[in-house]
Structures are given as structure tokens and as C-alpha cells.
Amino acid sequence: MSTLSLRTQIETRFPSAFSTYRRSDRATILTGISEVDALTGGIPMHSMTEVCGMGKTSVLISLLAHASHEHYCALVDAKDAFDPVAAEAAGADLSRLLWVRCGKTRQKLRPLEQAFKVTDMLLQSSGFGLIVVDLTDIAEKVVHNVPASSWFRFSRVVENLPAALVFIAQKPHATSCAGMVLRLSAEPATFSGKLLTNFNLNADVLRTREKKEVQSARPGFFIKAQWA
């Protein structure tokens, strides 16, 4: 059997067997923090992003504030740590935010399992432009034990959706399944007299699909407190 006929037979049964995989066009959602946006170009759609380190919640709130005016957003809050007052003060449209508070009732599943199951459901129910999963307060070793197949599945599902999937955690766990890994770090905050005014942050892009090398936004940027 010639190679050509073999190829034809295979393509008859599996049309995309020899086609080149093309990733979706790069659309992004801006975080609203100019330094982070300049560094990353925004949170990529059709992709899984991990945001970790200190300052991630401030980035999350800013991201929700921006995204909620253009997309319906979902926040899967594994430990119920989201502060709606801060989000509204930052300008988020809370009516477009679906907040899922895991671990608040006695259920068979643990908060991490609940969060992953809910994320699966949200991905299946298309229509959300941004899905954020906050795993920050889950013990690191527990998140570390999540099988790679779970991350891989999320990554493949979101590729075909007009949505950005963002995981917020203490450290990156999804390895190569993540389209982008953004690590934040904090320098000592500024206390102006008796007032905590600024949170001084640095951002490093540990991984993107296009550029593998680490990029940093140094010298850092700062986020002001609401009262400052």
C-alpha cells in the first residue's frame, strides 16, 4: 500500500489527522493595571492563565472590574475570600458576575473538588467570557496533587471557547498546560504616616505561548489603597 493511499484512508476516517493545529486568534482581556497589560498584552482568551504570588487578588479585582463591562464573568471562590465591596469600589459590574462560594455547606466534596467540578460545568455552559478560579487558600500540597490530566483537560476545553480561564493560586501548578503564567511579588508596602497607602509589586511572566523566556516588569509598580 502506497503512502498516499494510506494517508487518504486515514484522512477519510480522521479528517484532521494530518492538518496543522492552528491556535485561535489572540484576543485578550486587559487587567486594567497598565504595567501588567504592557508586560503581558492582557489575559489571553481561548487559554488558561495562572496568576500567583502576592498581589494576585488586587489583579483579580482589577481584571473583574474591566472584564465585567464587556463579558459575563464567573468567579469560583474555593474558600469564599472574595470581597464584593472592594470589587464594586474598583468599578466591577457585580450584576454580571456569577460568584460561586465553595466549601460553605456540608457536601461530600472538598472545596478544591467542588471548585474543579464547578469550573467544568461553567466551561460546558458557554457564555462566560472570563472564568476565574481562586485556589489561593487551598493548601499548596493539595493543589499540587491535582493530576496533570485535569489541567490539560481545562486547557483543551477553553481553547475552543471565547473565554479566558484564570487560576489564582499561591504558586503555579498547571505547568505547560497554562497559556501564560504571571507571578507577582511584593516589596515592603508604603506606610505614609499612620496610613497604609501603596502596595509595591513586581510582575514576572514566567511563561507564554509565544515567548518562553521570563519577562519582568521591574522596577515594579504600585497599587494604591482605596483610601490613599
Binding site: 487578588t57 463591562h69 469564599d80 470581597d83 450584576s95 458576575l97 462560594r101 457536601q107 457564555g127
Partner: protein
Amino acid sequence: MFACLLVPDFSVQASLFSEPRDAREILRRSPVTILDGPSNLPKVIALNDAARSVGIEVGMTKLQVETCGGVLLRKRSLDHEDAAQAALLECADAFSPRVESTCPGIVILDLAGTEKLFGSPETTACKIKVSARQIGLHVRIAIAANPDTAMYAARGFNGITVISPGDEARGLAPLDVGLLPATPELLEVLDGWGIQTFKSLAALPAIALTERLGQQGLELQKLAQGRTSRPLKPVEPTPDFVGEHEFDDPVETLESLAFVLNRVLQEICDRLIAQSFATNELRLTLDLEVRQIHDGKEGEQYKHNWKLPVPTQDRNMLFTLLRLDLERNTFSAPIKKLTIEAVPIKPRLAQGNLFAPPSPETEKLEITLARIRGVVGTLDAEGINCVGSPKTLDTHKPDAFAVQPFSSATENRNRPVLVPALALRVFRPALETSVELTGEAPHLVRLWRKHRRVLAASGPWCSSGNWWNETTAWAREEWDIALKTFEGIGYYRIYLDRIRKRWFVEGVFD
């Protein structure tokens, strides 16, 4: 063609309607009067021909009637009249799908297209009369080309009257003008002109009549000529979207229940679709078989209502919602009866907005939310929803929020100026801690089972509220502090509950 069924002396016939057939026929030939009005002075409001023949008239008092002797006096019953009217409508329904309940004792039905079923108008009228007599009502029937002509003919002529199209004026000619809906003053004017019948009114010149009596006079003339035309207002049958199933043997498994549930829902949805309705509220009742029934208690029931944000006719969606709820529940006894009621409303007619962001499909979203509730639960310990849209409350109390049902049909708000701000990760509930003070400021804070030195502190920021209510009053003294932790420096918010005199960690800045 339109047929008018008129029950003469309706109140009398209605009062006899509940009597047995034989007694009713005897009473019909006896003088019967219906009284109504104040209990101390009831007056005759209706009577039959037999009562008229003994000299009784409308408006006579009870005492006057009693002097006649042998007259049956009955008090007016609106229930009986409603029942008689319903029976009359039911009788008319058998001959036409379009039936108007014009007024008590009168119904008009549209006979268009019924010739092949019931024959000529005369034959149809005879059949209707026989049918009405079988249910205990003696009716006059008139058939004409328009509803008003049929009604006046039925009012004016006994038995069956058929007026051919184009012959309305001649058919109504002998009727008395008193049958027309004119004011007493107008009737007096007509009487003064010597106008006694429909024929004489119809013969008047229209312009001159309008000049003297206005539009009302012209309308009356058109009625007398049988030239009016109005659409029929058919009675809409009250839709019933209730399905129930009683099990021969009470069921214990969800599979057995789901099988029947699906079938009942299918029937309801078919009915909704057939009548161009949808539903946005579903009520489920499960009767449980309770072996011991005490004190006349009828047994246990499980009831649940679902309110959907949009109307739907989708059986699969409704079935999934019900099934997801039933999966979450356990019942104390087997289920012996299942009842589902759908509240009908008009289906949603909405056009998508090209410029609105893509939103979750409402029907699909409801199922997703139900599934998510199945995973994370419905309400937390404080009774706040676990799934929904957060909503801040109109209070200065920190971390005060509500969670309302999420809907994908929200309007786009004006985009405010967005400024990134420092966010707090909230510990719910707040972690109780112990704090050592140096002067007023915290010096050592116990966190994660260790005392940690405070590197910097901002505060105290005092706030309080609800001081007028002892149970809900709150007062606190906040400090934003920097602590040395394993991972470096952590920034926390702690507060002193000034009412309970205890320290708490509210959250961490992140």
C-alpha cells in the same frame, strides 16, 4: 352566521336549575318569582309567565306577591345563575368553538363553517334547542348575519327565528324600540315622535336623526336596521396545566419517579405548546405514603417551586431541573402521588442585541446553576446564597453583602472610571486572635498558632453602626498591620470588636 341563545326569565330558570328534572318541569308551569334587595324590603326582580298571568309584576314587594297566593318565592342566587350560565356556554360549545358570553342568560356563537356538521341554520337551531332542553334550559334562538341582530331577534321573538342575510331590517321591523340600549330620556323623545318600533326608527332620515339625537341616535338606528358589525369576543377556556400520577405501588427509587415525571412533563409541555403558552413557574408536589397518620393528619407532602427567569416550553430543561432537585433530596417515605403544575404565561419574544456581549443561554444557564448548587449547596450557615451575583448592602458595616440570583439578562451599565485598588482577601468567618498592645498600637499578634511581631501598623480606624439596636449593634477599631511570616512580610487587617472586647483578623491584603 351567528346564533344567539337567550334564556327568558333567566333568574327564574337559574333558580330552578338545581332542582331535579321532574320537579323543575312542574315548577316551570307554576308561578315563580325571584326576590332581591334589602332583607327588610325584598322586591320582585324576575318572574315567569305563570306568575305574570296571576298579575305579578317586577318591582312588587314580597308582601304584595304573597297576597296573590300560590306563588313560589325564591331569593336570587348568583351561584345558581353562574352555574346556569356555565351550562349554557357548555351547550353552545358543542356547536361552535367560538362562543361569546354576552351577558347573563345570553350567549352568541359563530356558526361559520358548521353547515356541513349540523345542516342548515334552522336545523342547527333545532338541535341547539333540543340540547339546551336536555340540560334543563328553555331557550329562544335567533340566527342572523351579525351578532347584534341575532341578539335583538332573540330578545324580541319566541322560539326559533332565522333572519336571512340582507333581510335584517325587515326581520327586526316589528320589535319594540324599548329593546334598544337607549337612555330613558332618549326613549321618551322617540315616544314623543311616535316612534314605537324598529321599523319606524329605521325609516328616519339619518342626517336629520343625527342632528337631533347625535351619534347615539345614529347607533340606535343602525341597530334597528341590523347594519351593525362587531367582532365576537369568544370565551377563552381557562387553561389547565396540571399533570398528576398516582402510583399503584408507592415508588422508592428516583429512576421510577423520573420515568413518570418525564411523561407528565411531556404532557404539560405539549399542552403549553398547543395553546401557545410557556411557563416560568413550576410547582411539584409529592405525596408521601406515611404509614401512621395521627390526629387526622393527611400525610406528608414534599413541595417545591421553581421560578425561571424566562418562560420556557422546553421539557428537557424542566425535567433536568426537577431531577437535579430530587437527586439532592431524600424522602422519609415512598412516594404515592406526583402532581406537577405549570403556571402559563406568554412565551418570550426578544430580539438579540448585536452590540451586547455574548451571554450564557438562559435556559442552559438555569440547568448549570442548578447543577452547581448540587455541588456547592444552596445556602450557607447565615442563609446567604452560595451561587449568584454579589450585591453590596446599603450599610457601612464591613463585609456586608447579599447574593442574589444570577441572570444573564442584565443591562449594560455606564462604565465608571476604573482605578486598580488594593484588595483584601476576607476570612469568613473572621479569625479570632489575641493581640498585645504597646500603648494603643498592636505589638504582637497571634496568627496561625504563633505570635508574630508587628512591623508596622496603621490605625486605629473606628467605625460603628446600628447603635440603636442592641442585637445588631456593632463597633470596631481597625488596624492595618504588617507581620513577619514565613513567606516574608504579610499585610493583614485586624480589628477589635468593641462590644465583645475581642480581637479578630478580618483578612489579608493581597
